[in-house]
């Protein structure tokens, strides 16, 4: 379980006058379940990329359980992410030609950490997300099934934080509902902090806290409002 503290963060890109993301201070407690919302271009994906170490901050600090990942080299950040972060994206990023279980295991295998226990866990996770055929080729699956495979993959190494960027946006209402519930249940079960970017009100409603971004800044935070109120 991981806690996040962000201090004086700024992310700018060359050619843009104002930073894409600017957060003075933000704290997310371990095990919290956060929804991040905001209009298109408000900086949600950028926030996710910074928090997971996919992108490097221009300035500022990003502490996970006290360790600043903004300082790490690219390879170290990769390794840190592999160990601590489970990612689920809008486009599932599964690999055609491989089966469901091979997809779940692929990153672990490439990192040479896939032992028998992890293989067993992969099969079990697929069962939990409701897929009975682990050897089914990924390209023959429905979109809802694919996203469930992606969730199983994200949870394989029991990450301290589960991060999802619009996980239900490309699914129909039923499949979206299903996937949303799975995410929350499984983060609970694994004891992971959960950060979900979403426009899906039913999903947002189920989460503890809602942070709204606008033009790269925190426009509203339900926790802060709660305290203020």
């Amino acid at each position: 379980m991981l806690a996040l503290v962000i201090e004086r963060l700024a992310v700018s890109f060359a050619g843009l006058s104002s930073p894409v993301l600017a957060i003075d201070h933000l704290t997310i407690a371990a095990g919290e379940r956060i929804a991040i919302t905001g209009g298109s271009g408000s900086g949600k994906s950028t926030f996710i990329n910074i928090a997971t170490g996919l992108e490097k901050a221009t300035s500022g600090k990003v502490f996970w359980n006290g360790a600043d990942i903004a300082n790490l080299s690219e390879s170290r950040r990769d390794r840190w992410r592999a160990e601590h972060v489970g990612l689920v994206m809008q486009d599932f990023h599964l690999f055609p030609g491989l089966s469901a279980v091979e997809n779940v295991l692929l990153p672990a295998r490439l990192a040479r950490v896939a032992d028998a226990a992890l293989v067993a866990r992969a099969h079990e996770l697929l069962k939990i997300v409701g897929l009975s055929r682990p050897e089914q080729k990924i390209e023959t699956m429905s979109r809802g099934e694919m996203q469930r495979v992606a969730i199983a993959r994200a949870l394989l190494r029991k990450p301290g934080v589960l991060v999802a960027d619009e996980p239900t946006a490309s699914l129909d209402a039923d499949a979206g509902e299903n996937v949303g519930r799975l995410l929350i249940d499984m983060a609970d079960e694994a004891g992971s902090t959960l950060i979900v970017v979403s426009h899906d009100h039913r999903l947002i409603g189920r989460l503890d806290r809602r942070i709204t971004l606008a033009a790269g800044r925190i426009a509203a935070d339900s926790a802060v409002e709660g305290v203020a109120a």
Partner: protein
Amino acid sequence: MIRFILADLRRLWAGAVVVVLLVALAVALGVTVTLQERALRLGSARAADKFDLVIGAAGSETQLVLSSIFLQPSPLPLMSGEVLAKLSKDKRVTWVAPVGFGDSFAGYPLVGTTRALISSTVSGFSEGRMFDKEGEAVVGAAVKLPVGAEIKPMHGTAQIGGETHAGVVYHVAGRLQPTGTPWDRAILVPIQAVWHVHGLGHKEHDQEESGHTASTPAVVPAPLPAGHYHGDGHDHGPSPLLGNREVHTADNGHGHAHEASGSAPDAAHAAEDHDEHDHHGSIDADAAIDEDFTATAPGLPAVLVKPKTIADAYKLRQEYRSGNTLAVFPGEVLTNLYATMGDAKLVLSAVAAGSQGLVAAALVLVTVTHIGQRRRQIGALRAFGAPRLSVFAIVWLELFLLVAIGIGLGFLIGLVAAQMIAEVFTTQSGIVLPVGFAREDIRSALLLLGASAMLASVPALLAYRQSPAAALRA
């Protein structure tokens, strides 16, 4: 990782096959050139190494070797028969044998020579025996004629429209074991028979044929005038012995062609009286073979000499290199020839290398584009926890695997192609070409593999350096 690569290749199998074939063909081109050139060099050297010294009339060294050892039909100038007699008595000579050509049968060249030459250059008979009489012949291993078969020699070769010598028939007495040289495709007959067929006097026949000789243009006066080039400048048959006769038919019996070359015009004029058909002489099939040559032996295109020692060989070559004769070590002439061949090989190798370079450039282009298309996939791999190095390894291995398979296949195709070319060459020339890989081929294979390893690292490095976040946005 391997499974991931294989899954990826299976998905893109058509492109993968094209890449492999492209590489294979470019590599095969280079391999074929190398193997073929080496085989030609080894094969011709082997064909030549039974003959230490070749002596002929002054002229082209290359032509002398090509005609006498590789049995290429082409007119050679003749030298005096005296040379043969002198060499026969020379203490420094183990054996000396005249060769006479110009006739053919069923596409095989007829070579007149001696028993000494045959028994000292061929390991033995696979069937039958040596010729004993003037009307007998011995065939090379690749000649498809059974023992006992009749041979009716034709003047020149069938391609250039030669005519059959009327009334001349040899019988095959034996078949030689293979030598891997053009002599495997030759029909060997007593030199004396060749002379007689063409109406050339020899010893006891001198008297009986002397009148005939005088009136026959085909007869080469022996000894010939110095520097006489038989058939030089005339577009006639390939027979050095029969150059005159060809002129005679071509010029319809007018001898002026010969005046230019300084040959006896009388003989040419006499041609008008001569019978118009092909018959100049005939053989006495049962006559014994006389291989004791005297100075009255007819003019010869070449004699093959086996000197006793290397020192003797050099001395003999020195002695017979002046004046009217030319003495060469076939190996030396071949070396010069290889130098020319080397230039041709250089050009072909450059072409092959160029095509390999083009394929390499095309591959870099294709894979860099491919990496562009796979940006998202590669970004995702890293986002989900694959180490950077394994992303590099995947991209590198995938391309290297294809290129390596292509190189392996290319070597195989090159070998098969070279073997096929060598087979065609062998059936046409009799020269066995030893096609095979040598140590230097391993080096060039390693060089190619090394180059493709570097090549594959270009897109791999690109994938390695790519930021996963940027890739996922794309």
